[in-house]
Structure formats: structure tokens, C-alpha cells
Symmetry: C2
């Protein structure tokens, strides 16, 4: 090993869900939205002036942050934007978690949290979810360097009521509390209403799921002016221009069409209810999902076997070979047609195995 | 101050050049290209399928990295891409500079280097450029944790020949050497040809200057497979999907049109020669520029005064209130018409002041 190699940062990178591109495949593995972005987005894309691309984008992405502020009824200085919520969360870890005390997040949750902690050498502890995959709020009462809660949680799909979130924040006034709400639009209530009360609360959301724009990389966060200023200071110390011009314009357009957004999320939640019923009939059980995915385990067929069987039929779902959840599949809620195909394959496979 | 505020990362953010948007202004302050991107870019933008935006982009941005590899005749595993060269450089600092020894870069250079070092708590030293703003290669012979050289350098515009670069790399086989070539297409020769010889060399370039695409945020780097793998591991530990779909597609299109690229850079270098001549006539002096900007000082009028006078005429140039360079203006080379307007205003102002 050369001398310079010894100074390379040691990391075990996050492994994102595979992005296969196979004709006829059904992709239910990365919680993307099956419906296209709002119609205005296509128009905005046509309207982008290529000539303008020679200029740097507005580093503050003011057009987008102002639109988000108006939409969510928060102050213009209470909004931060980044290249997907991963950028927002990573930046928040770097900005706020500089204590010697460990930060806390559940043992089963978004698997990027421990990757960021390792990357930035942040000590961390992972209190265990209970046997129903529920958060035990008392686990977050002890002294710590910060708290991160995904709500609804992933991959469990479980939503904790706002009073649980409030209780955790209430017990953590000496550190920054991050509530990661990537899936909140599918049935939860956002903690954004609490930022006025708690100046140490950061609420993170994304355009990747409920707004069908994973391909554009737009994430955002709400918090007190102090929190947002600190985040922006670190952001401007890393890369002043992260939001490119197309993301800013297309993001604004997506926010304008509230009716389309509500129609899409409601179609997904309806499909979800129907599919949960059918999965139950086939011998699956799962927590009540408030997300655009179902976290399901079968009464007698191992999850990994089902994952492989589905894959052979070009149906991709997510399987995590990890303690406590290695007998579960995380199945994205797609269109009704896609879910019919999934149910059909499962039905046949389970029938054969009986 | 609340307890949580004590754990906020302390930074002094980089201050990017202002992005005014005033009708009739002439913007020569952020080294943007005055010409639009290649015609194919506009077409590629029209061809982007909005429906596809619901899906995550390819985390490896394979379409773009493969096109870069073919264009620059390097291996597909020798290319890294990021959200502008700032993202590439910031990621490289985080990945490679983890030694206790200080990293080295000139006292006068791109002012983001010390910001990244501070952000990631990397010790650093800044050897002084000589009185002609030239790099003294011997300053980089001592033991260190890494070396960063902008070539051509900014804001000085000076290009060091490849044998100087090679000599610095040759003397630094125990650390990673980064050559930042944001401006190399305006008259320098890239060190990319050296990556085969030195597996610790990272060469960074950007679409923001010579390819007129600052608004799209595309940066890239060449290096040995080992270097690129380490960079990708850290990148995937921070944000798996940084290049959005539009950037990938438009970037590929820009690379396809080599003739347009050569025509644009040649128009800029021609304008540069002519303007240097006229500035000299007006009493300015400057190093020989191999970039798309001129770093000029006047024989009797202070730079700050000229900066303000130009601003009043809606002509924006860059002024750094920093030791050793506070009597210089960094003037981007715009179109011939823009430069005529600049020269006219300067001529009148200097005449009045005589």
C-alpha cells in the first residue's frame, strides 16, 4: 500500500437500491412514484432558456425557497434546499453533530444515518425499536449529541403520532433534533408546525417521493432562522451552487399544482389499502403503512426466496439482509396494474409452494 | 446561546461573486462564458422525458463518465463526476486529506481551498507565490499531507508549464496531488496525460467555463482507478445521487460538439489578446493570461476605485480585498461588444482622473 493510501478516509458506502433498466420490468424497489411529475413541470422544462445555462445558478435558489416558504406557510429564512434530502441530511449531520456525546437514531431506520455518522466520525448509538418496530420514546431521554427520527420510519413504514415527536423534542432541548419526513405526504402529519416552538428542530422533506421528481434531486428542510443560517454557512463552505437551474425551475413548477399532488398521493394510498388487503389474503403480515411502500413478511416463505422469485419475473422489490428485518420485503406501491402483476406472481408462487 | 448552538460547526463560508440581475448589465465578475452552450444542448433539453423524472438518476452517471472517458482517452474507471468542480474538489479534500501533516497550496489561489480545509479540520500551509505571482516549486518539496495547485492559477491567470507540475508531483509521491484545471482550456495543457504515470494524481476540470454550462453544475476529475474508487466510496457515503438527469444528458451533449467548443474557446482567447493590448495602452499591467479572465492593476488608480466606477456603469468585475492582491481587478473576458463597453468606460474614467 502506498503512503498516500493510508490517508484515504475509511468508509463503507451506502448501497442504494439497484437501478435496473430491463424492458417490461416492474420497479418496486426504490420507493419512486409511479406517476409522472405535475404537467406544469414538462412545460417548465420546455421553457428553460439554454442560453442562460452559461450563467451560475442563484446560490440561494431564492425562487425555490420562497415558493416553498409560501406553500408551507413558514418564513423565507426558515427554508433550506439541497440536492435531494440526502444532501440536506448529510449537510445537517456535518453542521449540527459536533458533540462528544453520541447521536441517537433507531437500530432499524434509514440506512444512511450510520453511514454519515461514520463518514464524519460522529459517535452514535442505535436504541432498538420494540418488537412491533415502534419507537420507544424513553430511549431518547438520555444525554446525547443529537437525535434523528425518520417519521414515517423506513423501511418499517410506521408513522408515530405528532405527540410522540413532540415528546422527544421536549426531552432534547440541548441538541438538534432532525425529523426526516421523506414519506410524510402518504398519510402522516408533518412536524413542520413545531418549528415555531422549537428552535432546535429541523424537519426534512423531499421531492423524490410524493412529487415524482427523484430524477431532479430536490430536498428541503424547515427550521428556525438560526438553524437554517448555520446550514447555509456550511453549505456555502462546501459548494455554493448545488441546485442547478433546471432543478430550481422545475421544483417551483411542481409546487404550483397542489391538486395534481393531492390526486397522486391519494391514488397511491388507495392502491396501498387494496394491496394490503390482498397481501393479507396471501399470508403476508405488515405494519400499518403511512408511506408509499409496504413492509411485508410471509407466514412461511422466507423473504429472500420471494425476492428472488419476483426478480425472475422482472419484478424488483427491496430486500435487506440485515438483523431483525431479513425476513421482510419492502414493496413500493406502484400503479394498480403493476400491483396486479405483483399479486398474480406472488399468488402463483405461494400456491406452488403449498 | 443555547447548548445545541455550541455544537454547530464553525465556518467562515466562501463568498461567491455576486449574481446581480440588472437590465443592461455587463457581467465580468464570475468568469462565466459569454457564449451559449453547444446547440445540441438545447435539443437535448427538449428531448428530456419528463415522465422519466419520477425515477432516480443513475448514481454512477455512466452515460456521462463513459462519454468523458472516450473524449479524453482515459479509462472508464479513471473518471469521477460531481456537482460542479467545487463538489469534486470538496469531496477530494474530504477523501484524501486525512494526514496530521499540513496540506500545501499557494497563498494566492482559488479562495475555496482554505474554506474546505477549515470545514474538514485539515491542517494547511500556504507557501507564498513569488513577487511575479509565480509558484516556487521548491516550496512543495517538504513533507506534507497533500498538495493542491490550480493551473492556470486564479485569480492570477498564470499557467505553469507541465514540467513544473510534473516536478511537484515527482517530489510528492507520499500524498495525493490535486491539479485544479478549471481554466485549462483557454491556453494550457492538461496534466491528465500524467495520470498513467502517477497513481496519486487527481486532475479536476469543469463544464462551467469553457463549455458555457455553469448553470448545470458539472465537474469531473481524472485519476488512477484507486483514486477514483476512493472518491466514489466517499461520494456514495454522502449522497448517492448527485448528478440529476438533466445534467447527465446535457453534459453528454456538450461533449459531442468538439468543433463548437474549439470555436468558443478560440473566440475568447482572441478577444483576450486584443483587450490585453488595449488595457496596456490605458496604463494597466497584468500577467500573461491563459484563462478566460485578466488579472489587471493600474499604474495610478487604485483597483477598488475602478471597481466602484465600473459598477456604477453596470459593469461588474471581481475585486478581492485581500493582502497582496487588493490592487488588482479580475476581469472576465466577455464578448467583443462587452469588452468594447468596458474599455470605453475605463478610458473615460482614466482620462477624467489624469
Amino acid at each position: 500500500m502506498s503512503a498516500w493510501e493510508k490517508n484515504i478516509r475509511k468508509v463503507v458506502p451506502y448501497v442504494p437500491g439497484e437501478q435496473p433498466n430491463i424492458p417490461g420490468m416492474i420497479k418496486l424497489n426504490t420507493n419512486e412514484n409511479p406517476y409522472p411529475p405535475a404537467p406544469g413541470v414538462a412545460m417548465a422544462l420546455q421553457d428553460i432558456k439554454t442560453d442562460r445555462l452559461k450563467l451560475y445558478p442563484d446560490p440561494t435558489a431564492k425562487l425555490l425557497t420562497d415558493t416553498l416558504a409560501a406553500y408551507y406557510k413558514v418564513g423565507k429564512d426558515q427554508v433550506f434546499v439541497g440536492v435531494g434530502s440526502d444532501d440536506v441530511l448529510g449537510m445537517a449531520f456535518l453542521t449540527f453533530f459536533n458533540s462528544d456525546r453520541p447521536i441517537l437514531f433507531p437500530d432499524i431506520t434509514y440506512s444512511f444515518y450510520d453511514v454519515w455518522a461514520e463518514l464524519f466520525s460522529i459517535p452514535y448509538e442505535r436504541p432498538k425499536l420494540d418488537h412491533n418496530f415502534r419507537i420507544r420514546k424513553e430511549d431518547y431521554y438520555k444525554k446525547n449529541g443529537g437525535v434523528v427520527i425518520a417519521n414515517p420510519n423506513a423501511p418499517t413504514s410506521i408513522y408515530e403520532e405528532l405527540d410522540v415527536v413532540r415528546d422527544i423534542i421536549e426531552h432534547n432541548q440541548d441538541c438538534v433534533v432532525i425529523i426526516d419526513e421523506a414519506y410524510v405526504d402518504f398519510g402522516g402529519i408533518s412536524a413542520a408546525c413545531l418549528i415555531k416552538e422549537y428552535d432546535n428542530l429541523l424537519v426534512v422533506q423531499t421531492f423524490s417521493k410524493s412529487r415524482s421528481m427523484a430524477g431532479m434531486r430536490i430536498g428541503y428542510a424547515f427550521g428556525s432562522e438560526k438553524l437554517i443560517r448555520a446550514l447555509n454557512d456550511v453549505k456555502y463552505s462546501y459548494n455554493s451552487y448545488t441546485m442547478n437551474q433546471t432543478s430550481i425551475h422545475l421544483g417551483v413548477e411542481a409546487l404550483k399544482d397542489r391538486a395534481y399532488f393531492e390526486e397522486c398521493t391519494s391514488m397511491i394510498t388507495k392502491t396501498r389499502s387494496r394491496v394490503m388487503w390482498e397481501l393479507k389474503e396471501l399470508g403476508f403480515s405488515f405494519p400499518d403503512s403511512k408511506t408509499n411502500f409496504i413492509f411485508a413478511t410471509h407466514e412461511f416463505i422466507p423473504a429472500e426466496e420471494l425476492y428472488t422469485a419476483l426478480r425472475e419475473e422482472k419484478i424488483f422489490v427491496r430486500y435487506f439482509k440485515k438483523p431483525r428485518i431479513d425476513n421482510y420485503l419492502r414493496i413500493t406501491v406502484g400503479t394498480d396494474k403493476e400491483m396486479d402483476a405483483l399479486i398474480k406472481v406472488l399468488k402463483e408462487y405461494i400456491h406452488k409452494r403449498k
